[in-house]
């Protein structure tokens, strides 16, 4: 019983905090967009524009929800839900802090900073549900019954079959090194040895590029393409249905940023600071903060890239994925496997 209550509290916390975080990420994105263009950005609502996300949210809810007469209604309504749910359930296996029997404990035993602790297929699960969100985009494009939306959905599927393969392969090297699909094991390995970015630089690069494609962020926001597809898959969506796509995209950015940090940037490990062996509330919270700070930096980097690189043409993305990244990822896996085997003797 206590366990279930604890679980529900954890789920509530994660959902609540990430939703709030998304609102403020939109403000951060707008601020960075403004700074990159030598502007100031939103600064009128509240001090430094800090109340802007709330006003934006209210606006989103109060807008008229238009459903055009020519859409395929059930799918049209299903698509945004699919997109947001797929983005949200990924959080189930993400460790927000240390997980293990040595954690500081409350009434129901040691507190695990993960909704589903001890899942040994965490990575596999994230990859599976992460790809699901593409269905939201494809179905939205299909159900809108609009040529631009349809093209957006089509591009999204073309994008999916291109980046998913190198993405899955790029982490094979890391998995070989760690010998586990458990995200905590990955962090612990990096704690004991080196960060993934040093052990697997090529894998990191490929994974990073694919992460941008996975989240539909520039330079790979092909399904959206404001300029040539007038918003792409969400052209026909308004009010909170549009908001849900937005939310889904940002949640996805958070998930992927956590994944990059956990897989390749050492998780809650700080170089030259022996945090790894420590436990207790203070150190646990410090580790959580370190992880959070790294994730925030990663998100800022994602936004920074958005204002630096132009959008890829979608055949160029497929070329990049199929002709460049897949061979590189395969080579990376083979070299890692060979070296590991030779080292083990």
């Amino acid at each position: 019983m206590l366990e279930i209550i604890g679980l529900l509290i954890k789920i509530g916390l994660v959902v609540g905090i990430t939703q709030g975080a998304v609102a403020y990420l939109i403000l951060v994105e707008r601020k960075i967009a403004a700074f990159a263009q030598d502007r100031i950005g939103p600064n009128r609502v509240g001090p430094l524009g800090l109340l802007q996300p709330i006003v934006d949210g209210v606006k989103m809810f109060l807008k008229e929800d238009v459903t055009p007469s020519y859409v395929n209604k059930p799918i049209f309504i299903l698509a945004p839900f699919l997109s947001i749910i797929a983005a949200m359930i990924g959080f189930a296996v993400i460790p927000f802090g240390p997980v293990g029997p040595n954690n500081p404990s409350l009434a129901m035993g040691p507190v695990q900073f993960q909704i589903a602790p001890g899942i040994d297929i965490g990575l596999l699960y994230i990859f599976a549900v992460g790809s699901l969100s593409v269905y939201g985009v494809i179905l939205a494009g299909y159900a809108s019954n609009n040529k631009y939306s349809f093209l957006g959905g089509l591009r999204s599927s073309a994008q999916l079959i291109s980046y998913e393969i190198p993405m899955g392969m790029s982490i094979l090297g890391m998995i070989l090194l760690v010998g586990s699909l458990d995200l905590n094991a990955v962090v612990e390995w990096q704690n004991r040895h080196v960060w993934g970015i040093l052990a697997q630089p090529l894998g990191f690069l490929i994974f990073l590029i694919c992460a941008f494609a996975e989240t539909n962020r520039l330079p790979f926001d092909l399904p959206e393409s404001e300029q040539e597809l007038v918003g792409g898959f969400h052209t026909e969506y308004s009010s909170m249905k549009f908001g849900m796509f937005f939310l889904g995209e940002y949640l996805h950015v958070i998930t992927v940023s956590y994944l990059v940090v956990i897989l390749f940037l050492g998780g809650w490990d700080l170089p030259f600071v022996p945090l790894g062996e420590q436990s207790g509330w203070l150190f646990t919270l410090v580790k959580m903060g370190v992880l959070l700070a790294k994730v925030l930096l990663m998100i800022v980097f994602v936004m920074w890239i958005r204002w630096t690189l132009p959008r890829f043409r979608y055949d160029r993305l497929m070329e990049l994925a199929w002709k460049r990244m897949i061979p590189l990822a395969i080579a990376n896996t083979i070299v890692t496997a060979t070296v590991l085997q030779l080292l083990r003797g």
Partner: protein, 205 residues
């Protein structure tokens, strides 16, 4: 020029090294550029934004904003109802009703009884200002006008004269005032002894 012309110079793009072909150096360079802008705008005064209602934009001296009807030194409207501005106006937004000037006004035969400009129809081309022989109508740097109805935006004589009162401090009449010595073009213009208006201008000085 034919494609096998010997004068044709063939250029070959420089060979990219393996590293350059990955485009990573270019991407890093781009990140440096945007990063510089972000840091500059976030920390210092890199942003070019003007906080509008608090900080007012100062238009350039030759900005063409709302019109004004100039007054002479006795506070009378300078307009002599010659209709040149209304004729020059490409969109016909000026409507003048002329009348015989009072007997006390010895310098002119007519004056404008009513002078109406439709500020919504006006395209702010400045032709009226150029056409005016007595420099009665001028375009000011006043730009933030707004109204709740179309009728409100049709400016009559009183309103146009009040624009003069409002702006004469900041923008003295382009004539009737000794031009600044630094401005060579206007000096030349004033000293050229040609037609009536110029002489009148000197008299006013």
């Amino acid at each position: 020029m034919r494609s096998d012309d010997p004068a044709l110079k063939r250029m070959t793009p420089p060979k990219l090294t393996m590293f350059e072909q990955s485009y990573l150096p270019q991407i890093l360079g781009g990140l440096a550029v945007t990063g510089r802008h972000i840091v500059k705008a976030a920390l210092g005064d890199g942003a070019v934004t003007m906080q509008y209602p608090e900080v007012q934009h100062q238009p350039s001296p030759n900005y063409r904003g709302v019109h004004r009807l100039n007054k002479d030194d006795q506070g009378r409207v300078k307009c002599v109802a010659c209709m040149l501005c209304a004729t020059a106006c490409p969109v016909h937004c000026i409507d003048i009703v002329g009348a015989t000037a009072p007997a006390a006004w010895t310098d002119r035969e007519k004056y404008c009884q009513s002078f109406v400009i439709d500020e919504l129809r006006c395209i702010y081309c400045g032709m009226c200002e150029e056409a005016c022989p007595v420099d009665a109508i001028e375009l000011t740097g006043f730009y933030d006008i707004s109204g709740l109805s179309r009728e409100e935006m049709i400016f009559d004589k009183t309103k146009l004269l009040s624009v003069f009162d409002l702006t004469q401090e900041a923008e003295p009449m382009k004539s009737g005032v000794v031009p600044p010595e630094s401005s060579n073009r206007t000096m030349e213009f004033v000293t050229t002894p040609t037609t009536g208006p110029v002489i009148e201008r000197q008299q006013l000085v």
